[in-house]
């Protein structure tokens, strides 16, 4: 059903935070689940992670990066306007328990997905280390929020403008080399980042969960667009995931499948930018 926009603002370069009226989703959502939205009548359906919810106010908050036409169109929507469709919550919630020493790793806009999971891990009693990465200090998301929930916080930037100069995987690598006790890792971010993380934890056998942002259409298991190979088996990210055992995910195939409509995406974006310029 249509959903009214409460606010929609830029919080970092190319990254926006949108608050939507969605009482039912706000009530039902649990960490790890996502929604699917359609901006307008001719729009495509895209999945986005729910960052925060307010069941009392009946609202949910999403953070998204402007990548293609749909997200650009979304960023042009103003408070008071409506989105054509909003459906959810979809996917399985994260399995949260007190693992002991948990490490939550976010890269880029993937941080938006990690934050609610990290919060739930903290609430479940874990000793929580957060490793947070972005291109520059301007791109860092939810810094205040993670500072509040983490027992230990490691910030990384690609350009060294804040925290460690380098990737989140380098911080984890150091932790593993120094034989720190790690019982559980959740990592969400660009595919190369997630792949680097699972390669680090594979040897020591640290349980590592990743959340996959496959291309989806319906999000209810009907189309199979989001299929991924996990331990050689075909899984649907929408109904079997979106979280999987990172050591079993075929990231190479995942990467290839994410690129399938690249040409179309570029064309749609170009066309939208032209229309917008007029």
């Amino acid at each position: 059903m249509p959903s009214k926009i409460i606010s929609n603002e830029k919080i970092a370069p190319e990254i926006f935070k949108i608050v939507l009226v969605a009482p039912q989703i706000a009530k039902k959502h649990r960490a790890g689940q996502f929604i699917i939205l359609r901006v307008g009548e001719r729009g495509e359906r895209i999945p986005l992670t729910v960052v925060e919810k307010d069941p009392q106010a009946g609202t949910i908050t999403l953070i998204y990066q402007v990548v293609g036409k749909t997200t650009m169109w979304l960023s042009d929507k103003k408070a008071g306007e409506e989105l054509q469709d909003l459906v959810g919550p979809l996917g399985n919630p994260t399995e949260i328990e007190n693992f002991g020493n948990a490490v939550a790793i976010g890269g880029g806009v993937g941080c938006a997905c990690v934050y609610p999971i990290a919060k739930a891990l903290k609430e479940a009693g874990n000793h929580l280390t957060i490793i947070w990465g972005a291109r520059t200090k301007e791109h860092l998301l939810l810094e205040k929020e993670i500072a509040e929930i983490s027992d230990r916080l490691e910030i990384c930037t690609d350009d060294g403008s804040k925290g460690t100069h380098g990737f989140v995987s380098e911080v984890l690598k150091r932790m593993i080399e120094q034989k720190e006790k790690i019982d559980y890792v959740i990592a969400v971010g660009p595919v190369p980042m997630m792949r680097a993380i699972v390669e680090l934890t594979r040897g020591p056998g640290i349980r590592t969960v990743v959340s996959l942002n496959s291309i989806m259409v319906d999000g209810t298991g009907m189309c199979g667009s989001c299929r991924v190979l996990v331990g050689g088996e075909r899984k649907f990210a929408c109904v079997d995931g979106p979280e999987f055992d990172g050591h079993k995910v075929d990231f190479k195939n995942m990467m290839t499948r994410l690129r399938v409509y690249k040409e179309f995406e570029d064309l749609a974006k170009e066309k939208y930018q032209e229309e917008r310029g007029r």
């Binding site: 979809l90 259409v217 319906d218 209810t220 199979g224 109904v239 690129r259 179309f264």
Partner: protein, 487 residues
């Protein structure tokens, strides 16, 4: 066949079974508009005059929703087209859909007495004609609705089973709400069946008709996720019908199925039908357009996919099927339409592996020739590989249309709802009653992938069983004749 009817049959032989005019194959493969234009009024009356008006009409026995076929045909013969449409609507709320997608040759027309000597009356084309005539006339008639019972019924899924159940229950005075997971109602009628076979405006009109009767519709609600079955009951629902369909595509489990350019038929058709990818970039959802497209499977969904690929500009569109033509589950009409359009059939052919190019997109498919052996458990002769017959097929898109399993969302989130090993919800055949109190189910979620009309039949039976549970009144023996009134 009775002696009298035998005589009539001989007398009527002069009038041939009427054919609907169609878009020329050369033209229609360039557009998504409907293939047949439908009967003219003259043709409809002529065709109706072929009916033998049997005293004990066999055709009705073949109809899963019990339409009074001889009566509506007789009305057509008299030129009373709108009355004929109303006659059908006493039993079937969705005639313009059934007139198009029902396998009449397996049902009513198969039993038509005329069909023993010559070709059966084209009951399906006549149903389609009057339903379209009524819609075009704007004289859509609303049936009489019984006084409100105050009972709330939730319908999960707005496909053919759900729409039919909703239509019956609203007429009986219940408060009916349909919950649909997608953004448009219609289920497989909207995401699965292409525009050229079932125009979406027709599905929309049928849904509007139900809304006019008072049915409430909530789209973008995934029951099991947005709200669970138990939460609906907590909110005061008295009974529920689950018609969530066979929405979980199957793959072949051969190497290369995860490559770019391999689609499930569900995805290929959903992108095109629901999301209008054929209008990209006017619409935002993309779809890969192949030059050489192979569709795996021999059912209606396979035909729909292969014909859609052609309309998206494929130079070659192949059907690859492991059995022979005789075993194809697709309707004859659909196979013929596909052949007319130039779809190439590679029968007795089994895909073994799909090969990628350097970018990870489909480049070719290795297949093997088959021959028919002994009959298997389905009664069809089992295809057996011919050793050494492997060959490479040059293709850039592969569409897997080998069937669907039931969607797992509701069974997974509804404690106590028993399912078969293969995932189907267990429900009584006569009533749709499940293992959970007040919950009924029907359509593909119970039977596995079947037809629109069987789903509708199940929706209707379940509606009567729900009515009986809610009011004590048993309608199963005598289906309601629904007194009509002009609105």
């Amino acid at each position: 066949m009775g002696e009298q009817e035998e005589k009539k049959s001989a007398k009527k032989e002069k009038i041939p079974r009427q054919k609907m005019a169609e878009q020329e194959p050369k033209e229609r493969i360039k557009n998504f508009q409907e293939v047949p234009y439908g009967f003219t009024p003259e043709q409809a009356m002529l065709e109706a005059s072929r009916c033998l008006k049997c005293k004990k009409p066999k055709c009705v026995d073949g109809c899963p929703v019990n339409i009074n076929i001889p009566e509506f045909i007789s009305l057509i013969e008299q030129g009373k087209f709108i009355e004929a449409a109303w006659k059908i609507k006493e039993q079937n709320a969705l005639p313009s859909i059934c007139g198009r997608v029902c396998p009449q040759e397996e049902q009513c027309e198969k039993l038509c007495v005329l069909g023993k000597k010559q070709k059966p009356v084209s009951i399906g084309y006549l149903e389609r004609f009057v339903a379209d005539y009524e819609r075009a006339s704007g004289k859509i008639q609303l049936p009489k609705i019984r006084p409100k019972t105050g009972k709330k019924v939730a319908i999960v899924g707005s496909g053919p089973a759900g729409l039919t159940a909703a239509g019956e229950l609203i007429k009986l005075g219940h408060d009916v709400t349909i919950y649909e997971a997608l953004h448009l109602p219609g289920g497989v009628l909207v995401y699965g069946i292409p525009e050229f076979r079932l125009p979406k405006a027709i599905v929309q009109a049928e849904v509007e008709y139900l809304k006019a009767l008072g049915v409430k519709l909530e789209v973008d609600v995934v029951v099991g996720k947005t709200i669970t079955v138990d939460e609906l009951f907590e909110q005061g629902v008295d009974a529920m019908f689950i018609g969530t369909g066979a929405g979980l595509p199957q793959f072949m489990d051969i190497p290369g199925e995860e490559l770019n350019g391999v689609y499930s038929a569900n995805e290929f058709l959903t992108r095109n039908n629901l999301m209008k990818a054929f209008k990209f970039p006017e619409y935002d959802t993309p779809i890969l357009r192949g030059k050489k497209v192979a569709t795996i499977g021999g059912g209606n969904v396979a035909m729909d996919s292969a014909r859609t690929a052609l309309r998206l500009g494929a130079e070659k569109s192949y059907i690859v099927y492991r059995r022979s033509r005789a075993e194809m589950p697709a309707r004859i009409d659909e196979i013929e339409h596909a052949e007319q359009e130039g779809i190439e059939f590679h029968l007795l052919t089994l895909p073994l592996e799909i090969y990628p190019n350097e970018q990870g997109y489909v480049k070719a498919m290795k297949c093997q020739r088959m021959q028919l052996g002994e009959p298997d458990e389905s009664g069809r002769r089992r295809p057996v590989p011919i050793p050494g017959s492997e060959f490479i097929m040059d293709v850039d898109i592969v569409i897997v249309a080998i069937g669907n399993r039931p969607n797992p969302l509701i069974p997974q989130t509804t404690p106590g709802l028993q399912t078969q090993k293969w995932g189907g919800v267990i429900a009584d055949e006569a009533t749709g009653k499940t293992s959970r109190e007040h919950i009924y189910a029907g359509g593909d979620i119970v039977t596995g992938a079947a037809t629109v009309i069987l789903a509708m039949g199940a929706g209707k039976k379940a509606a009567y069983a729900i009515h009986k549970e809610l009011t004590g009144e048993d309608l199963s023996a005598s289906l309601p004749k629904g007194e009509n009134k002009q609105e």
